[in-house]
């Protein structure tokens, strides 16, 4: 009986030795080097695979990070500076701090202020309806309201409100930029997140002349230049009947907000001002304003 034990040991160990020899040859002859740092970097990346960094997925971005000499140009918007610091630690390279950004919706043309003049029938998609015409209202620059941006947001950071406009939940927004790409109208812009998420920006993209714009939408920028005049920092420029606030220059003084006759300029997360007696004809506008503040309340509780 002891023989059988012996036999089995001999047989198995000879197979084992043969296997070892074979494997040794394999490992010697066909050695493929892969930088172990790639997987290390990949581990710290958020694995959202959103493409916000410009690479097709996190793994590809990790490869690019490891492969590049200078990674200060590369940035993972989802992970933000924290992640980039970790990456830099792993790679022993410098990263540039990026101001955190957040998506803002530059249109306030909800149902009440921007009357519908036609009815669209077809797939509910901004990109598709934009192919056939300028939308259900007379404004051909504003939001189409079919929510392509909301659909592409992987982080549930957007929703369509009752007014038919998208709203960004700034706390959830990772600034991946997917919505910016999805919007056929370029309504969405990435703007600096600033302290306490304070922002001042023009909530309109209508390039039509004042009268036409105003007729299409109550809160349209009519290109009156009052804000440009009042801005102490020259942060506001006028182009094609439309004001634009340069976030780099803007100091959040909010002088422009008050002078805008159509309330086109949106401020977020500022403490409530002393209540102005609302002028009667501005009732509809007031609705929009409270809407904007609802958003700010949301953010402050979480910030």
């Amino acid at each position: 009986m002891i023989y059988s034990v012996l036999y089995s040991a001999i047989l198995l160990s000879s197979i084992g030795v043969v296997a070892a020899v074979v494997l040794f040859i394999v490992s010697k002859k066909f050695y493929v080097y892969e930088n172990p740092k790639i997987s290390e970097v990949e581990d710290v990346l958020p694995s959202a695979n959103c493409g916000g960094c410009g690479s097709p997925g996190c793994r590809a971005f990790a490869e690019r990070l490891v492969g590049s000499e200078d990674i200060s140009e590369l940035f993972c918007p989802v992970g933000g500076n924290d992640v980039m610091k970790q990456v830099a630690d792993i790679l022993g390279k410098e990263v540039a701090e990026k101001d955190p950004t957040v998506a803002v919706v530059r249109c306030q043309g909800g149902c009440e202020v921007r009357p519908k003049t036609t009815e669209y029938q077809g797939p509910k998609s901004c990109a598709i309806s934009a192919l056939i015409y300028s939308g259900e209202t007379d404004c051909q620059f504003g939001c189409l309201g079919d929510g392509d941006c909301v659909n592409v947001c992987q982080f549930d950071a957007m929703y369509m409100d009752d007014n038919g406009l998208p709203v960004v939940i700034t706390d959830k927004c990772t600034s991946c930029g997917a919505c910016v790409d999805a919007c056929p109208r370029n309504i969405i812009e990435m703007r600096p997140r600033n302290k306490r998420d304070l922002k001042v920006f023009v909530g309109c993209l209508n390039e039509d002349k004042g009268g036409i714009a105003r007729k299409a939408c109550n809160v349209a920028c009519i290109g009156c230049s009052k804000c440009e005049d009042v801005c102490p920092k020259d942060a506001i420029s006028m182009n094609n009947n439309l004001a634009y606030i340069d976030a780099e220059l803007c100091t959040l003084c909010r002088k422009c907000v008050d002078v805008c006759p159509t309330h086109s300029i949106i401020e977020t997360n500022f403490p409530p001002k002393k209540v102005k007696t609302p002028k009667p004809e501005e009732e509809t506008v007031a609705v929009v304003k409270t809407e904007a503040k609802v958003e700010s309340v949301n953010n402050e509780t979480n910030a």
Binding site: S4, A9, L12, I15, V17
Partner: protein, 193 residues
């Protein structure tokens, strides 16, 4: 992590040692279980025999006789049971290829008077829920105590005495045929005392 370097020598040695240990321990366990394994195999057959035969105490499995039969491909196993050297019955393995899905193999135990003591089904591939019902006691019971010389092993549909399984006349037929074969062999080999 303190992983060892992979060099030719330590790779070979590691695998050698592991396989050696594995081989030794497996050999050892095999030795340990060799006997129980053999016993277990035996027990299965003995169990079947116990079910179909009256009490016996001879070593049936070793005393199997193989009989040639024109109805079966292989030799037919016949077990002669004795209790204290008294002949108490015979178990015959009968089979039929005419099952719904081919082979049906059963073991039939006969009392010395030729009546059926009991039957167990050894192998069958019939349709679950139809032909497989032949394994059920309800079906098997109708054969107990019957002597095939008086009890026609064909299903009633074909003029026999067997209550067919619902929806499985073919299986019943095969079962009857296998039993008949067992009986035929039994009558040929029945000890004449």
């Amino acid at each position: 992590m303190s992983k060892k370097e992979s060099t030719f020598l330590n790779m070979t040695i590691t695998l050698f040692i592991i396989t050696l240990v594995a081989g030794l321990s497996l050999g050892y366990v095999n030795d340990l279980t060799l006997e129980p394994k053999a016993k277990a195999k035996l027990e299965r057959k003995v169990n079947a025999l116990k079910q179909v035969l009256p009490e016996f105490n001879n070593n049936l499995v070793d005393e199997v006789t193989l009989i040639k039969s024109d109805k079966a491909k292989d030799n037919v196993e016949v077990y002669t049971a004795k209790n204290n050297d008294n002949y108490v019955g015979t178990a015959v393995v009968g089979s039929s290829e005419k099952g719904y899905s081919g082979l049906v193999k059963i073991m039939v135990g006969f009392n010395p008077d030729g009546s059926i003591q009991n039957i167990v089904v050894l192998e069958q591939k019939e349709t679950p829920g139809l032909g497989t019902k032949m394994k059920e006691v309800k079906f098997l019971n109708q054969f107990k105590g019957k002597n095939p010389s008086q009890f026609n092993l064909k299903p009633k549909k074909d003029g026999g005495d067997v209550d067919a399984l619902t929806g499985a006349t073919i299986s019943t037929r095969a079962f009857g045929e296998a039993t008949q074969m067992a009986y035929d062999v039994y009558t040929e080999t029945k000890p004449k005392n």
